[in-house]
Subunit: 222 residues, 4 copies
């Protein structure tokens, strides 16, 4: 499981990464002890999250420098809106929650803080600033899905786990990792860690990771 060199470097510089990927919410998804109410509450918030996260990936299309960057960002917007969101709609529908209800879910502050931070990273900076803020969600879910699927502790939330452990999602993580590596190489060169902008990109990644932790915390409080 390798999502690229840049991700590896950003991840290594982020102490909060473990807090995020091994959060109590994640553990309970794995061992099935997460209350159903908390899971549904999380799914509803995550639906709203994905709406704004899709907007942030669409913003990436507007900030791309090459056709390849555009294509990958546009493909991700589509995967989010038509695949990942669709899973939420389906799971929630099975639990009696319609998409109209999902769309009007009262957004929690922890949710709002995260997505608006990502969008502002894009508006205030360039594509790299935006990608550094987008990466923790994409790749963290990839790591979490793969780890929980490998552990196979409990079937309760296996549909969720398998979504992120799937070849399709793992490929998305590798594609985004390659997009980031290429975007970094194109703008910062072969030795990006020596660029003055590097610490700022690491801080973006770190902040988004902390906001993921806040999102899981919120998930445990329906």
């Amino acid at each position: 499981m390798s999502y690229g060199n840049t991700f590896q470097s950003w991840r290594g510089a982020t102490p909060a990464w473990t807090d995020y990927t091994r959060h109590k919410f994640v553990e309970r998804l794995g061992d099935g002890t997460l209350p159903r109410a908390a899971f549904l509450h999380y799914l509803k918030q995550d639906y709203v999250f994905l709406i704004h996260f899709s907007r942030a990936w669409a913003l990436a299309v507007t900030k791309a420098d090459t056709v390849d960057e555009m294509r990958l960002a546009a493909g991700t917007v589509n995967a989010l809106i038509n695949d990942e969101i669709a899973l939420h709609v389906k799971t929630c529908a099975a639990a009696g929650v319609s998409e109209a209800d999902l769309f009007t879910t009262q957004e929690r502050p922890e949710n709002l803080a995260y997505t608006r931070y990502v969008l502002d990273a894009g508006h205030s900076g360039d594509l790299l600033d935006l990608l550094a803020a987008l990466a923790p969600c994409v790749m963290g879910y990839g790591e979490i899905g793969a780890a929980l699927a490998a552990a196979k502790t409990c079937d309760t939330y296996s549909e969720w786990i398998n979504t992120y452990a799937s070849d399709e999602y793992q490929q998305l993580c590798r594609d985004v990792g390659a997009l980031i590596d290429n975007a970094v190489q194109r703008r910062l060169g072969d030795n990006p860690e020596s660029c003055p902008r590097w610490p700022a990109l690491c801080r973006r990644f770190d902040m988004a990771t902390k906001l993921e932790v806040g999102f899981w915390d919120m998930g445990l409080r329906p």
Copy 2:
């Protein structure tokens, strides 16, 4: 051929609409008298245009208020990047012009003026401002393709004509027309022409139409 009520109203308020849709460049595409060099020059500029036009549709995703608005805008980004641009790449490749060459085409000022105006309409206003600036290109090409296909004067540029006369493209025009009607209804209500913003939206449509005329003028000057 109906692309919605709003389009009909904006079109009717725009004297330049005829200058655009019955431009000499269009006539010559129809009767086959357009020099091949002018056509290739146009295709190259149009490739660069579509890159920035796709960015503007991606911006629309970030400015949508509903999931339906997001889905349609995201679908249009994809259609542009993966279908319409692909046609340009294919046609140009057949004429010995690679996509790398296309991407580095020196953008003409008339081209630049148009797409940056559309993007700024989106950044400075809301989704309606952006849609009013996006509409003339989408729907005008639909009208031109349908009219030239119906006239069937000459086969020289039939591949181009059939692209825009195709059921698929005509459906895109109707979908975008419905998106605009719904977006207008949602924001301005049932009687939008009486809203104070209406003249400003008409001016956006009118300006984008004039910039289309400038684009055709440029097309005749390889």
Copy 3:
């Protein structure tokens, strides 16, 4: 004390307005029981807030439709950066906190959520969406300053209170109120409350007010 008709209407539709303007943090500023540590913690967070709030007013300049709208928004950017921020710098300097320290204050999530929400209101919508999100801070501080100055309970935080009770700040509130009234009239006409967009603008104002409440809550937790 009147900050315009639109503000009066938005304020009246927002139950959280009282939670915000009569928050425990405000009471303690008035009666001097707010611990100094909480005040300094608040000032540091508010410094970071003002940086991003200034960015949001600068965004308003880019989204104005008239020279008058531009001038007022640009004047507010200046008042924020050169006057209001300067007060924070001065007060903090007296307490041994340098501006460099202020700028690197670790931004709390409640702070981040608020300003990034305002910025996104501007990027996703038009000037009205942005103004509805900007208004609660500007006018709420005007109301709070005036109320605490009138009550004159205690001198401990009188410099802070007098800043917002001052003629200069009260005039800023009236100017922003007039800007909003004119911007609304220009875009929605004489009967704005009947426009389909009105509820969405009220929701923007309401959300920003709730985020103010969250900011005060955070202020009590140094």
Copy 4:
């Protein structure tokens, strides 16, 4: 006359710089042979230009990384809106053209292309991309004003010439030059010309310079 190292380097890499700063329009301003009608036509277009150029500087405030960057960008917005635009209003008023007329001047495509390109440079990139597109106007007018004032050929357009030759405007150019040098140093380090982004920044500067040439060309065609 030195406006900083970065400007010097960008200027040196731009063959169009001479076309811009020694354009026939400039010569005729200097020797007084520019027809009054052309000058007034130019002033009206330049008024509209300055509106959008001010918006682009306001965008720079939203994209700044430090308080100093914010202050200088905000100060420039103010100088543009309250000083430079005021000169246009005054000169045009003396010629019987009101500010309301100025604001509704039909924007020429060459004018529109330029400002929307600058705004898009800011939206699609970071502060450096925006500054590279803003620099040619600020510094070019500084060079032109200083050169014409030194030549003192004719008094006809001396008020215009003296505005840009003034200590105040020359200081603005030096301040913007220092802002750019610092912004470059902060993001690209001490050896910016070796960064992969450097050629892209040079292209931004070059394109904006060419759009200045187009603006002068347009000025000669009332």
